[in-house]
Symmetry: C3
Subunit: 163 residues, 3 copies
Amino acid sequence: MLAMNDAEILQRLSDLSIELPDPPKAVAAYVPVRIAGDVAYVAGQVPVVDGKVLAPGRLGDPDSGPTAEEAAVAAQQAALQVLAALREALGGSFERLAGISQVTVFLATAPDFVEHPQVANGASQLLVDVLGEEGRHARAAVGMASLPLGASVEVAVVASLNS
Amino acid sequence: MLAMNDAEILQRLSDLSIELPDPPKAVAAYVPVRIAGDVAYVAGQVPVVDGKVLAPGRLGDPDSGPTAEEAAVAAQQAALQVLAALREALGGSFERLAGISQVTVFLATAPDFVEHPQVANGASQLLVDVLGEEGRHARAAVGMASLPLGASVEVAVVASLNS
Amino acid sequence: MLAMNDAEILQRLSDLSIELPDPPKAVAAYVPVRIAGDVAYVAGQVPVVDGKVLAPGRLGDPDSGPTAEEAAVAAQQAALQVLAALREALGGSFERLAGISQVTVFLATAPDFVEHPQVANGASQLLVDVLGEEGRHARAAVGMASLPLGASVEVAVVASLNS
């Protein structure tokens, strides 16, 4: 596969007026990204901006939950954190990244919620907008009973690397 | 690993009186199958027949939910869609498929539901019946708060390929 | 990557006064571990001791649920079962194991539960304590509506192997 062009990806982010967040830090017993051979496993990202969870609550809960539109923005933010984590783990450049293989979008939802695709598209579209065709992935979007920090969205990714 | 024999697999499906469904289509930002090296990641499949979700509702919910038996049939259908997606992505033949590595069976359930294995076996058994020993996989079966389209079952798969 | 030293890992377990449980058995249609190339996929492990589920129930449910501390011990047990399954699948030695790539910790929870990290650390810390730096992994911890056998914890793992 062709190598990604780091400068081009940064330019695309800039064109989209999107800023790559600071990469998530390693915590006690696990790491944001684990590389094994040509595969990079990215830890589940809960969308956080300025130390606060974006669009917390339970989707489909009229009292306290965010709307699908708000959660889609949060999913996009989680995907950005995935990209920031990957770039950091690859030595500060997207050069070695070959593509996004698998995206699992976990959504905290009420039992009758059905707009999983609309929310998950916030993450999927960001990956394609920024990485182009190689950002296109297999996806599962599923509804959870709860998520860490009371988030409505968590995004986990498997990416492929060039040797 | 030995290559799979496409004609033999189609014959086995025919012997089981099972028809391979049309492969799922790519949607906007994600794809049914992403191949990276010798690994194929298959997007989460919700069982759909003639445009309608099979066995919708929440397992363990006496009012509206399907029985475990009905959901097991839906899980089998989802696994068939996985096979159809893989065959399409591999150029219309199972020849390059080496085996099924990982199956995650997501089930929409009430909190006290415990028949996850019975339902998930619908998917697991189909994969072994059709692909033989190389269809045997590691599995996780878990209960969700909700699934896309109000489905009771969603099946995501990682498969291995020959070079 | 360097090979793991089986005797050293067993010594470390002994130093921690931890006993490796019997490896989980293959059931009907799926297997505890599926190896594909240099990747080992481990089936979701529900913590079981002497035939009984450890810390069953729903986290965050004041009536029937275990505490986060109890569930963290259960998560550690599930991680031990993962190690037992891997060692068995690798011919009775950790020698070929290169590291732990991805850990998904599924927790059965009430909707307002937020202590996922504390519980999941039970699994993550065990893997690092026993395997050292190569046990450090990408992790997702998520809250489920229900789990098999009424468990509060299920742990699924992807590991990497030496050729």
